[in-house]
């Protein structure tokens, strides 16, 4: 199927294709919502990750805390946010990281009304920036 939504810039729409690709990565992330799993992951990250048949690239993205990279590999933000929470990162700090902004800068942008929709509707607008 044609995916019109792929024209939206800086956005990964979590559709069935992404969901399929990211399944084990997302299942790994959601497991961290429970304290006992967080402890097991902390005690031995590699052994804990090995419980989930992720791809090597996904595993590396987890090691690197490559937040956009995880999304690219089929992760969904609500899942990866569980990994961020495990690291003590708030949702706002996580958002900042994904935009490449410093936390303070991102927070200021939000306080001033957030990122404007103008110039952020389609990929062509980003390319012409």
């Amino acid at each position: 199927m044609a995916k019109e939504y792929e024209d939206i810039p800086g956005t990964f729409v979590f559709d069935a294709d992404r969901s399929r690709e990211g399944y084990h990565l997302n299942m790994f992330c959601i497991s961290l919502r429970l304290a006992e799993n967080r402890e097991a992951f902390k005690a031995d990250p590699e052994a804990y990750m090995a419980l989930y048949p992720m791809t090597d690239a996904q595993r590396q993205a987890v090691r690197d805390r490559a937040w956009n990279g995880m999304l690219e590999l089929g992760g969904n933000i609500y899942y990866t946010a569980k990994l961020a929470a495990n690291d003590g990162i708030t949702f706002q700090e996580l958002a900042a990281k994904m935009t490449g902004m410093a936390s303070e800068e991102y927070r200021d942008m939000m306080v001033k009304g957030g990122r404007s929709i103008e110039g952020n509707r389609s990929k062509i607008e980003w390319e012409n920036k």
């Binding site: 019109e4 939504y5 024209d7 939206i8 810039p9 800086g10 956005t11 990964f12 729409v13 979590f14 559709d15 069935a16 969901s19 399944y23 997302n26 299942m27 959601i30 961290l32 919502r33 429970l34 304290a35 967080r38 956009n68 999304l71 969904n76 933000i77 609500y78 899942y79 946010a81 569980k82 929470a85 495990n86 708030t90 949702f91 706002q92 996580l94 958002a95 900042a96 994904m98 935009t99 490449g100 991102y106 942008m109 939000m110 306080v111 009304g113 957030g114 990122r115 404007s116 929709i117 952020n120 509707r121 389609s122």
Partner: protein
């Protein structure tokens, strides 16, 4: 017979829950958010519901990637607040209303909506934050039972706005045919414009949000026809949560009066929107 007099539309930002749970609602950052709920809390006292039918979405907490229901109706006796990765919110367990919930389930399935019935379910901030903002701080229990309807808005495609609106109408028919004489209030939650992910995170579109609220009150059919593409492009990838407000609107009369509206940017990454609609 049971009846619906009013509906509430309301964001369910997790940080709002954290602000209440940590007692920082008076700080300058949060004060304008909570200011908007002062009138609502009084209104809730004046219009006390017997049951709340609450439309929300789970945020990959109670539902993992294993099972993704489009519409999941909570028919359990109670729903535990879920641990979302930083411990469960310190709020009371949510009591369900099993008889009304099963009545609605039977009625809407015979009305050709393909529900998933949940007899065991935890609930995340999507459900508890709207209760907190509308009721204020509570002690040992919530003021009334709640029937949760969890909608998939995480994996594309969410149900269409039209489908949500039609489901609201079916829920209303079900409530109207329930024998007991009780006041059922309907909550639609989530949104408004926000994007939590990737390079476009932080997107806010107040013009879109205002138009959405205007349509919701005045021309709900037109509102229900907004496409997924438009939500994702104009209101951010997580702005798609707004489809859930159409379920609430579908359960109200064709004509409603907007008795309260509040809109503020930001709460964490999102715009906070809130309306109270009364049947006319």
């Amino acid at each position: 017979m049971a009846y619906v007099k009013a509906g509430v539309g309301c964001s369910h930002v997790p940080a709002i829950g954290v602000a209440m749970d940590t007692g920082i609602t008076e700080q300058p950052y949060w004060q304008p958010v909570f200011k908007g709920f002062e009138k609502s809390r009084q209104w809730m006292k004046d219009n006390k519901p017997d049951v709340i039918f609450l439309v929300y979405n789970d945020h990959c907490t109670a539902f993992s990637a294993e099972v993704i229901p489009t519409f999941a109706l909570g028919c359990a006796a109670e729903f535990q607040p879920a641990d979302e990765g930083w411990g469960p919110r310190p709020v009371p367990v949510v009591k369900g209303h099993q008889k009304l919930a099963s009545h609605i389930a039977q009625s809407v399935i015979l009305d050709e909506f393909d529900l998933t019935i949940m007899n065991k379910m935890e609930v995340d901030h999507g459900l508890t934050v709207p209760l907190s903002v509308m009721f204020g701080d509570v002690e040992d229990e919530w003021p009334c039972p709640v029937i949760p309807l969890a909608v998939n808005v995480v994996q594309y495609p969410a149900p269409t706005g039209n489908r949500c609106y039609q489901l609201g109408k079916a829920v209303r028919r079900a409530i109207d045919s329930y024998e007991e004489d009780i006041n059922v209030m309907v909550f639609g939650t989530g949104g408004m414009s926000h994007q939590l992910q990737a390079q476009r995170a932080g997107l806010i579109n107040p013009e879109f949000d205002k138009r959405f609220l205007d349509l919701l009150t005045e021309d709900p059919v037109a509102g229900s026809q907004i496409t997924h593409l438009e939500y994702m492009r104009e209101a951010g990838s997580e702005g798609i949560e707004l489809v859930m407000w159409h379920v609430m609107r579908g359960a109200l009369n064709e004509k409603v009066e907007e008795v309260h509206r509040h809109y503020h940017v930001p709460a964490s990454n999102t715009a906070v929107g809130h309306v109270i609609l009364e049947n006319r």
